[in-house]
Amino acid sequence: MSDQARQLEDIGASTFLGSPHVALDKVERGMVVIGGAPHDSTHTSRFGTRMGPRGIRDGSLPLAQRIRDSGPDGILDLASGDRLTLPDSNRLVDVGDYNVYPSDVMKSTEGIAGGVEEVVKRGGFSVCLGGDHYVGYPSCLGYTRAVTELSPRPKIGYIHIDGHLDFRDDTPVWGKYNHGTNARRISELDLVSPSNMVWIGIQGWSDEEPVSAIDSNNGLIFTAADVLRIGPEEVARQAGERASAGCDFIYMSVDIDFIDTGFFPATGSVVNDAITPDIMAAILRILSGYPIGAMDFVEVSPRIDPSGRSMIMSTDLLLAHVAPRIFNITPSP
């Protein structure tokens, strides 16, 4: 790294939080591994999430600068009073983007799943940056393939944070593999337990069949109104308990259109549900206490938000969940 790159946030390779860019075979146990899935050909309305991984990485650089500037004292989380310092050995890497093929959904599926599988097999905590929400399915698919090496017959719970259920079985135009069917496809994976599937933040209307299917699976839905009424911390706790009950691991899928679009403009599907970013951060923070083994973070569409604030916000949201894995945390005295 050049001296300038140490000083300026807009110089040097754009990796998440300025982390080292490494090949998959350099991933080590305990690392948080950022991998991009710049795929949006399965988005049913406004395209643009293919720019999501790049946008999120760019948006993380201002904070990377502050972390570098902070030196051994680290940075202070003003909300909690916790002090975050970088450990002696780095725990965050960026493997770049997985292979995607816009004209071949199944080939993209294998490209993303293969990358995530490799990360998890090496003991990494996979954070797959979308891309439209369809990438949640191949990401989870890769995770389930990998965890069979960690446990003989693992059972996996699932937490879906989103403004939408994404549980349609099929759509007339887009078929069975798109950003409205990803959770349904995940429910069909061998290791995933449908009764340990939890949705947080659903709003508006849905086709009747997906709701009935979730109900008959004994899945659990917290609407956005539930989150506002019950409170994010309690919803997160109940979700974590349900998803982990009798399960070895949890996979978590985070669609940023859980947040009201007034506060997070960079997304294709506009949502008006009064969920603010701090509510999402609170949920992600609580869920870091549960056995989540991999996650995706999707539907960021940078070109819809020329201000760039959504992409900067994405870093804060991701850190709400993964900070304990990356930093040494000294609790507030």
């Binding site: 049913t44 309305s45 406004r46 259920l165 007339p172 135009v173 887009w174 659903i202 709003q203 508006g204 209307w205 849905s206 086709d207 009747e208 709701v211 839905i221 609407t223 956005a224 109104a225 539930d226 506002l228 009201d260 679009t261 007034g262 506060f263 403009p265 599907s269 506009v270 008006n272 549900d273 009064a274 819809i304 938000d305 020329p306 201000s307």
Partner: protein, 335 residues
């Protein structure tokens, strides 16, 4: 007739409100909803732009085309109430945009009055996609005229706005001024003061208007009072007061009643306003009262980069859908 049969992407096809069939007023009958655009914004003293709001509402409403898809049943995820899309499709018509005169208010107001009158006379509900808030004044007049012709009584008025709109006249804009919407309804005796309810005022308002509101037997429920009392209580009182001795109530919504964090695309953003979910909660409750017309105004899609984001138009579309859906349910049209 679509060019091709079979499924099309929701971003494709003719752009109508929630993908509803196009139609004309003569097709309307009791229980139906006549949705029309009013691309008029000359009565707005700030940035021009609400004239493109009807188009923006329709474009964004493609998200809700499932509302008029054929043979589907939808579930509202909070209430778990179901919606039969075939029924919605049968009852909603997009009448297109009114022929707007930006330079002659007499022609414009006459068009608005006649449109509201003709729709209401057929027992249908006029749903206006504004446009400036000032269009509401002749729309209420048209509804009143229809009521009187049918031998019914007066019309009440519920206004959602961050302001009172009780100004007499603007030094530059004169009488044709958005800030005089409610004042014109009073001065013309279209609405009795005791049947006028203001919901959501916040921030600063002109002293003269505030004193007028206090002097009149009208009802003012500020945004802060909405937060304290809750939407169900507020809407209950509003309907009670607006409909007292009236046959119908007209609801005029200026989108600036919502906090600018949720909807920034208005020439008059406020940051002490209502939440979008407050309006979503209000709409079905209003539908349970004798609401005979509704106007949605003040959205300016051209303002800021937020025009890319479409929070305002989507929010407006969802509000209208929640109103229409509940009206249909209450009429017993969903079997």
């Amino acid at each position: 007739m679509p060019i091709r049969r079979g499924p099309i992407p929701k971003t494709g096809g003719l752009m109508t409100f929630i993908g509803a069939p196009t139609g004309v007023i003569d097709e309307l009958s009791p229980g139906m909803f006549g949705v029309f655009g009013v691309p008029y914004d000359v009565s707005s003293p700030d940035q021009i732009g609400p004239r493109v709001a009807p188009r923006a509402y329709r474009e964004t409403s493609t998200y809700f085309q499932m509302m008029t898809a054929r043979d589907a049943t939808l579930v509202e995820i909070n209430s778990r109430l179901t919606t039969d899309t075939n029924v919605v499709r049968n009852l909603v018509r997009d009448l297109g945009d009114l022929p707007v005169s930006h330079v002659d208010w007499d022609i414009m107001s006459s068009t608005l009055r006649n449109t509201a009158h003709d729709i209401a006379s057929r027992g249908a509900t006029p749903v206006a996609l504004g446009g400036d808030h000032f269009i509401t004044y002749p729309l209420v007049q048209g509804c009143l005229q229809a009521l009187r012709e049918s031998g019914e009584g007066s019309v009440g008025y519920i206004q959602f706005s961050s302001r009172l709109d009780l100004g007499a006249r603007d030094p530059v804009w004169g009488d044709v001024w958005r800030g005089a919407t409610a004042r014109r309804l009073l001065d013309s005796e279209t609405v009795c003061p005791e049947n006028m309810v203001f919901i959501g005022a916040n921030g600063y308002v002109p002293l003269e208007q505030w004193q007028m509101a206090e002097r009149l037997p009208s009802t003012v429920i500020t945004a802060e009072q909405v937060r304290t009392r809750g939407i169900p209580d507020v809407i209950s009182e509003a309907l009670h007061r607006a409909s007292h001795n009236c046959s119908a109530v007209f609801v005029g919504i200026d989108i600036d009643v919502m906090d600018g964090g949720y909807v920034a695309m208005t020439g008059t953003p406020r940051f002490d306003g209502l939440r979008n979910v407050d309006l979503f909660e209000a709409m079905p409750l209003l539908a349970r009262g004798p609401v005979g017309g509704i106007s949605l105004c003040g959205l300016n899609p051209l303002i800021e980069t937020m025009s890319l984001v479409k929070t305002g138009q989507r929010c407006g579309v969802e509000m209208l859908i929640r109103f229409i859906d509940e009206k249909i349910r209450l009429a017993g049209s969903y079997k």
